[in-house]
Symmetry: C2
Subunit: 562 residues, 2 copies
Amino acid sequence: MSEKIVIIGGSAAGPKAAARARRMDENSEIVMFQMGSDLSMASCGFPYYVGGFFDNRNMLLCTPTGVVRDPDFYWNSKGIVTKTNTEVTSINPDVRNVEYRNLATGERGVESYDRLIIATGAKAKMPPVPGAGLDGITNLQTMQDADYLRKIRDDGNVRKAVVIGGGLIGIETMEALNLAGIEITIIELMPQLLSFLDWEMARLVENYIKGKANVITKSGVAEFIGSGGSLCAVKLDNGTEIPCELAVVAVGVSPNVRLAREAGIAIGNLGGILVNEHMETSIPGIYAAGDCCEIRNMITGENVLAPYGDLANLEGRVAGENAVKGNIAVFPGTIQTGICKLFDYGIGMTGLSESAARKSGLDYMTVVNASPDKPGYMNGKLLVTKLVVHGKTGKILGAQCLGPGDVSKQLAIWATAIRGNLAVDDLVNNDLPYAPPYSLAIDHSIATVHIMQNKMKGLFRGISSIEFKDKLTARDEMFILDVRGADEFEQSRLGAGEVLIPLGTLRNRLKELPEDKKTEIVTYCKISLRGYEAAVLLQSVGYENVKVLEGGLMAWPFVKEK
Amino acid sequence: MSEKIVIIGGSAAGPKAAARARRMDENSEIVMFQMGSDLSMASCGFPYYVGGFFDNRNMLLCTPTGVVRDPDFYWNSKGIVTKTNTEVTSINPDVRNVEYRNLATGERGVESYDRLIIATGAKAKMPPVPGAGLDGITNLQTMQDADYLRKIRDDGNVRKAVVIGGGLIGIETMEALNLAGIEITIIELMPQLLSFLDWEMARLVENYIKGKANVITKSGVAEFIGSGGSLCAVKLDNGTEIPCELAVVAVGVSPNVRLAREAGIAIGNLGGILVNEHMETSIPGIYAAGDCCEIRNMITGENVLAPYGDLANLEGRVAGENAVKGNIAVFPGTIQTGICKLFDYGIGMTGLSESAARKSGLDYMTVVNASPDKPGYMNGKLLVTKLVVHGKTGKILGAQCLGPGDVSKQLAIWATAIRGNLAVDDLVNNDLPYAPPYSLAIDHSIATVHIMQNKMKGLFRGISSIEFKDKLTARDEMFILDVRGADEFEQSRLGAGEVLIPLGTLRNRLKELPEDKKTEIVTYCKISLRGYEAAVLLQSVGYENVKVLEGGLMAWPFVKEK
């Protein structure tokens, strides 16, 4: 006997669960509820619609061959009944049904189920400050938000906007509005943008943004100031007023769990629906998937909220299969891989940052590698990677990567390596696809594990930009050695009292170094490969305390002399 | 006590071994011999120099900051003595020295060593046919070859060229010469180009090349025909003469092992130097690295020749470390990952093809997935992937990928997955970086393992393009069902007697299907996702023998009606 599957939510996890359920059993009855009028919207695409990467709104709602995914499509192509503009008002597990109300007609009804899948998503948060009801304040969460912001682009009347929140959505929104010709200020409560990154990596992003947007960190919003019912400024908690006609709030989302909670389904400490590895809730036969759930971080074992479109689809697939077949499919959890585009930069991470590893109490090591993705003659572009590995075993714990180079490939490699429990020693000879249009002979990811291996073997003694900056601030006695060429030094330099001795002349100029072999020496170059070679040379002539500035000048997040 | 390291070969593996040895011990004496005048040439970049991707020849010989890697650079920056234009004439393991001769001055000498690293590379093969000495015949293996072909581009006098050999170098050369405005014919002895691909995948490449070059397979060269000492035609073994002023021979390379053989070092059945996992030859203290070696295929355990620039570097790094430190570093082998660019296409593979898996006697399954790399609204481009997995465990054995999409990332994922011994079940929920500029919500690689998982579970019954073509040729009775839209059918179709019933109408038109539920039915669409949904539907109404054409029309390698 085929079961009847009811799904609450028609955006990402819901439709995927429905489609998977259908493919597992053509004869099951499948009913999907959607509160809005659109189904299966490509919501991750909203910033690109707003930013003018494409103009045809239907592309967000269509199959690749141009068929709108409306109720007719779902019925004709997939045999799935969809009820749009329909709110499920309660789940009644005892009698296995849901009650609903059509928001257009007011009509109410009851739908029974054998298995239920909750995919109610998440709601954009709003700061609880005065003026939040003014015109000109929005999120970028719904199709309506996207339409609203796209109209602003098309009308061309807004001059200044504030983006509140420097997470993934905030960054994507900032790009979209900048491309619409709007002057942007981005406001973040935390001391950095993109809080999943370590501070110095986020700072590199902030440096890159300069000239494209104003960035204000460590600031909350105190009030939205209006004039005639419309926003005219955002007031920060330090009293500063930023004039603007538009504010986009992107301070995160909260799981929509009211229905689940009222039905007695267990909710976690983070506010999401609790599910087991089969995506089943605390009530047998009721599954949940997508942004409304808490899922397991596979590295720490702790629950997390991970409201990403890809995970929603994968979770939906597992929930859909299990709803039909019983609990045969497993969703193992997330390593919280994320990526965003910011003009010419890709920015992303997978696994644990250093700060997350520290919080988890793990024994870890880090390294920073700044080097190109491809040969110079193929127009190679910079990548900066910060790798975090387990201190003893070298197991990959996480990687952050950013820059104009091919960040997406790098993160895919790290994510798959973490999935495979691989360690540094497993990756030093990783047999990756090499040809000059795609990679250096030693791929950036491999070069990164090479440096880490050298560090673990004690061959490479690195100093992070933050440690070095702290020493500079504390006026620690050090000999700072820049081993680049004179031409490079002219173009750009630290200005921290460093001495320039190009690597090629260092062997003949050793007498210019401090006599005391115990002097702390920090070497660097553009990316710190030459810095490393200099350190090896200095150690060989007896210097005992030589460190290499990791990532060199390319990964230096602080102000330089020039 | 530091050891003296001598290295024979200064192209890729040699310089990497030298640099690694230096970093392991700043005090060891390192001498590197190079027969030509250039050192550390970026030989994988030759096709791009010839093709005009860049004009500054020095970029092939320089560090990223523009310093030519000449003997002064090696001495000043790395403390490595290099002897260029110097041929090592013999290795004398009993007395631990090598004899050499300066090719410019004729001067002879002897250099003793504690550890020796052989990195003599490989030599381009030449077909043993008449006329090979004519002007206008070259390889693209040396810097001189690159100079010769670049001059032909710059002079602009050559109108027609023949490329002999359809492997990676042949394909890259073809692109380079096409970009130089030369009409190309590419000749391959085997029944297909790129013999590391399965036939039907190679055929997709051949279809793509049409209009850009003439492709002649299953043909050898019988003679180079000259006029006044210069090439004027290439004669095939079937007698056809192809007029041309230039022939580039790219029929592979042979390891340079004369020196090693004469020194009593063991040579393998494939003609390469035999090494253990430490890259040490049969004579202790003598290492080898790069194209002159045989290395282990990590999947089959068999030795292979794998003359790739990335492996040469990785092998050199291991040899350099072990030469200094004793055998502490391990080179585990290769999975023969390769990639090449061909105009807008990336083409590559990692691990085993179906044909290699069959030859190895492995129990395997395959699947083909044709789908875009990104959403349509972000200008997503097609990828065609053929995945080979172990039949019982689902362990990834190999993947071939091609198309205008992001092939490099796909192959990096598969290669890392193979390195991690991952199976289909490990990858169905792989947490990859997703944002619309980089990927679909379900990445192409994940979609591929989803299909494979469906196939392994018996949900998806596929038929390969070759099997289906065989059935068509044999005029097997089948009902062929195209479930695309009428508009798509107008644009392009198989013309194999198929019936068009768009998926969205199929539920209402089931009566148009054969009455006999045992009839063999083959369904497909553009990429066979709708084809799959149709098959599920047909099975649910009792059809017992429904198959989905894998990869749909996008992966169809044969002629279509339109």
